[in-house]
Structure formats: C-alpha cells, structure tokens
Amino acid sequence: MATTYGWLVLAFPLLGTLVIAFGFRSLPGHYAGWIGTAAIGLAFLAALGTLIALQGHSPSHRELESSLWTYASTVGVNARLSILVDPLSVYMILIVTGISTMIHLYSISYMDEDRGNARFFSYLNFFVFSMLLLVLAGNFLLLIVGWAFVGAASYLLISFWYRRSTATKAGIKAFVINVVGDVGLVLGTYFIFKHTHTLNFLATFKAAPHVFQKGEADIVAGCLLLLVGAAAKSAQVPLHTWLPDAMEGPTPVSALIHAATMVTAGVYLIARMHVLFELAPAAQDTGAVIGALTLLIAGTIALTQTDIKRVIAYSTMSQIGYMIMGVSVGAYAAGMFHLMTHAFFKALLFMGAGSIIGAMGGEQSLEKMGGFRKVLPFTFACFIIGGLALSGIPPFSGFFSKDDILLVTAERGGWHWALYVAGYVGAFLTAIYTFRMIFRAFYGEPVAEARELEGGHLHHAEVPTNPANGEVEDTDVGFPGPHHTVAERAMPMKVAMTVLAIGAIGAGLVQVPGLDDIIVNFLRPSFAGSPLYEPHTKDGLLIFGMVLGTVLGLAGIAIAYRIWVAKPGTSAAIQARFKPLYELSVNKWYFDELIAFAVVRPAASVGRFAMDTFERVFVQDTMIGGTTGLVRAGSAAVRAVQNGFLRYYAALLVLGVAGVGFYFLLQA
C-alpha cells in the first residue's frame, strides 16, 4: 500500500507536466497554474498516504521496495525501475511536495500575464517529478536519472526568460557545473558497484560492510566522488559559483529549486549513502570540512552583496553548508531536520523578496530600496519571521535545527570542535547579513516606489530592463511579463506565504531536545545500524549551545541595527577601513575568476586549437580536401577523354582492341 502511494506521488506531477505541456493551447488563462498546483497538491496527499501507510508497518520493517519492471538485466547489472519507500524518502517527499504546492500557489499570481505561463508550470511540475524520482529512487540508476533530470529542469527554469542573455548564460553555467557533479556521481557509483555488484540500494547497504574494509581505497574514492556530486548539486565550495547566477530565474524558481529542494539533494545523497560514508571516514571528514568552509565563505560574501536575491542565495549556500557538515559528521536526523526548517523559512524569504521586487517594479538592488515597512506590512512580517528563523532565535524553527547539528558535531570530539566554532561564527554572520537585508529594504527613508505604493499605485518601470545589466527588454515571450504584484494584493501569494510562515515558526517544535524526538524516532529505521545515529546525552553542552546561539543571534541583529539603521554612515566607514576584506567579499572571493582562469581558459584554448589547427588543417584540408581533390582530379582525367576529337576516339578504340587481343594472346 505504501509503495502504491509512492508511485502515485511520482505519477501526479508527471501527469501535470504532460497535461499542461500538450494541452496548453486549449487551456485558457490561469488553468495551467491551477492544474499544476492541483497536481502537486495531489502528490502531497499521496505523500501523506505513504506516511500513514508506512506507520502501519513495524519500525524494523519500514524499508519497502517496489518495482515496476526491469530496465536491463545483463552481465552483472540488474537495473529495475524500483522505488524505495522508507522513512527518509517519505520525509523528503513530504517536504518536497508540501513546499512545492505552496510555491505553485504563489506562482499563479507571480507569473500572471507572463507569456510563458503554461511553459513555466509545465517545467515546474517536471522539476518536482524529477526531484521526487531522485528521492524515491531505489537503485543507483534511477538516482542518477533523477539527478540528471533535476539538473535539466534547473537549466530550463533558470533560463526561463530565455531572451535575456544573462539568464541563458547563468543556465549554462549551472548546467555545466552540475554535469561535473553528475560525472562524480556516476564514477562514484562505479567504484561502489565494482565491489558490491549490485545497483540496488538495500542490497548495496547490506553488502557494503562485508565487501569493503573501513578506509579501503575504493570506497573512499567512491564516497569522495559522490561528495563531488553532492557538492555540485548543493552548491558547496568550489562548485558553488552557479547558485548566485541562478537567481536570474523567476523568484518562485529560486524559492523552490535553489532553496528548498534541488540544493538539498546533496544532503539527501550523503544521508542516504550513510552506510558507505561511515566506511570511508576520510570522505566524511572531507564533507564536514567542505560544509564548514562553505558556511563561512558564503556568510562573508552575503555581507556585502547588493542584490537582494543574491543575499538570500548566499544564505542558502551557507545553510546547506550546515546541513552537509551535519550529515557528514553523523548528525543525520539533525541535518534532515535543518533541511526541513530551512525549506520553510528560506522559501518564505524568497517569496517575500519576490513581493518587494514586485513593489520596486522589477528592481532587485538593495541600494535602491528603503522604507517599505509601512507600505508592505505583510511582506515585512514574513521577512521578520523568516529572518528570525534563519538567525536561530528561539522559539523559531531555525534555532532548534541549527543547534542540533552543532551539538552533534561537538560530540564527535577531537578536531570537530573547530567545526563547532565555525558553526557559531557562521550563525553570527547569518544574523548580521539577514538583518542587514531586512533593515536596508524596510527601514529608513521610503524611496520613490514606496511613496507611490502609499498612494495606492504600484510602481511599473517605464521601459522594462534587465535588472542585472540594464539592457532594455520588452514584455513579450522570453522576457518577464508586464504584470507584477505584491503579496498584499494577491491572495494566492498571501495564502502560500502564511502557510510557510506558520511552518517557519512552528516546525521547530517537532524536535525539541529533551521534549520530543519526533524526527529522530521517525527516521531511525532508515539509519538503523549506524553507530552515529543515537541522540546525544550531554545536557550541559546542550544548554550552553542554545544559550550561545541565542546570544550570537541577538548580537548580530543588534550590530546590524546599529550599522544600518541607527548610524547610517557606519557601513561606508567600515568598507573604507577594511577595504581589502571588502573587495574580497564583494568579488565573491574571486572564485569565478579562479575557475575562469584554471578551467575555462584552458578548455577554450583547447577548443580553439581544435577548431583552428586540427579541424582546419587535418580534417578540412587533408581529409576532406584530399578526398575531394582526388575525386576532382580523377574526374578531370576522365573528362579529358571526352574531348570530341574523332581521331582520338578512334585511337582509343584501336588501343582497346589491341588490349583485348593482347589478353587473348596471353591466354593462348
């Protein structure tokens, strides 16, 4: 029964995609949006069905597999179309379908009057389908398929406004980096498959401890490669450069893909493969270090970014760093818990950003925003809720989840204390940049657009332009539509944001340490057998961590208030004093330039060499030119025979006769 619901969860979004894709001509107006939302809503209900059905099984029998048919069964490889319904995947599909339903609802208003409305919902449904496939996959093959589909959907959605050159470039960048991750994933699978000879998850996990020694080279290599895949998909250093550029996509896309779901695929991967990672401590440590590094680097960059969506993007990167760090040190339940809470408040923040961008008429720069507090009260409230949750202020959800991760990290002891410290530094930075964003956008003197809105008129740009580089656009297909709105005016947006706000506030209460351990207990069957899973017992550290987190969060808010509200010139002064640091941060730690220098330029020069030298000289001139030249020469020679001279023909005739006679003479 549970697995039937599982298949339904997959079927509904796929159906939604196909119906919208093939029927969009006959669907007038908003139907595409409602159909898409309904599809995901039904998928959410089916996910609830799997949850309830799963609870019907005893805890030790909660890993259910179901197969539709066999793809291929050849020497050694038995690939079946199978899904795995167990607590971890049910947890993930609930989050994915729940958040997606809200975002679809939000998009109905946001993408109103965009010429590509139906295309948008079709792509979005396809994305949800791919993500669900990834999460529900029961073997490596389907995981890789889902992984690739998700990358493709991300590309389609980032470059949704395809006539914007910045958007298409960003889409390509995202896709290329994701491909690097795909390669890592496939190679990692190979290393594991080489020894276990099965692609099926349950069989692999059962066989792995017997087949691999702890720390053996192949398993470490395999897990490191899986980590590469996870890092690419979850935008961890150094494969993170695509995420800020991915903000070129519409805001709902940023909310769904680049906050709540796709970027968490890496976290899910590591959690799912925990059996293998526990056999490769080196990979685990690498993952933890990468998570911690990303956490800090992204936090510092977010302090100086001016585009509101990019601030939130770097914040996502930082929080995913927490999650990766969490699942790498063994805090599986904590990492997944933070995944859920982060999905709520990050999606909420992005939706709020969409609302304020609508108020600004498409402008996204924080430098041009200010004083929207009175005019956009609902948006402001959502931002505050999301910001408090993000900064880890109790009793909001982010507080519980973040502290849980850091606690388990500390419990591992040894050098993990450095990660613990890094985590709290990151929390401090998080509070600062989050509230920097909120204060700059909502406090201070109201800007012209805010005053317009006070008067009841929503600002529309005279000439639509690309907010990134100022290029002039139009509102036809391939560019954003002429309509934009704020949450206060659109009921679907309000409903969606309210639901998410409730989640951001209250979701933490499912895992209050000491009180209830719902998540830990729920996920236990998936992680049975892992020595790292059992929850902590050190209460002293727990209390200390909670207090420290709260203090750091409040301190961050206070500092942000001082710099950006109380004394407006402070930030410029700090910029001037710490110029090198400021430059490093604003230029995103020069990662783009580094990658361009180390990877892109050599590749481009190889390509150029191939085109200019190899292609031109060898292929064109020698092979093609040679063969055509040969043919031409041959035909010229043959053509010369037909010159019209009678005597010449006669001579040829006689020569032919002589030849034949010669042959017969030889025979005799």
Binding site: L646, R647, V654
Partner: protein
Amino acid sequence: MSIAWYLAVSAIVFSLGVVGVITRRNPLVVLLCLELMLNGANLSLVAFARMWGNGDGQILALIVMTVAACEVCIGLGMIVAIYRRRLPVDVDELRELQG
C-alpha cells in the same frame, strides 16, 4: 608462298590503315584509310578461302566490297554536304559531341 605470307601482308595493310585513320585530319583521307583496312580484311578472307578450298571467304569478300562501296557513297555524300555548308573539312573541327 604459304598462306602465312598473305596473312602477314594483310596484317600490315590493316595496321597501316589504323594508323592512317588515327593520324590524318582530312576526312577524305580518313575514309581512304578505312578502305585500306577493309582491303586488308578482304585479303585475309580470300587467303583463308584458299586454305579451305571453298568459296565462303570469297563471297564474304564480295559482300565486304559491296558494303565498302555503300559506305564510301554515304561518306563522300556527307563530305560534300559539309563542304557545301562552308564548314571546315577537318575531323578535328567537327566536334559538337564533346564532353
């Protein structure tokens, strides 16, 4: 003389005819060389007729002569027609059928 001698003469005459057809430009002379070739063939026909002692080769030689006469008729008629139309009487100039 044995028959072989006659055949040798026939071969020589035929080859000379071939050379002439290929080498000469005046169509009249080309036709003459064509006649040479036919005569060479005639000689060998008659020689073989002598060898076998029956008249088959001679009859064929007569027929060949007849055909040669007809062909000369037509060929010369054509040359006259060409000359009448003021075209150059030269096999190299008359080459509309060229590739």
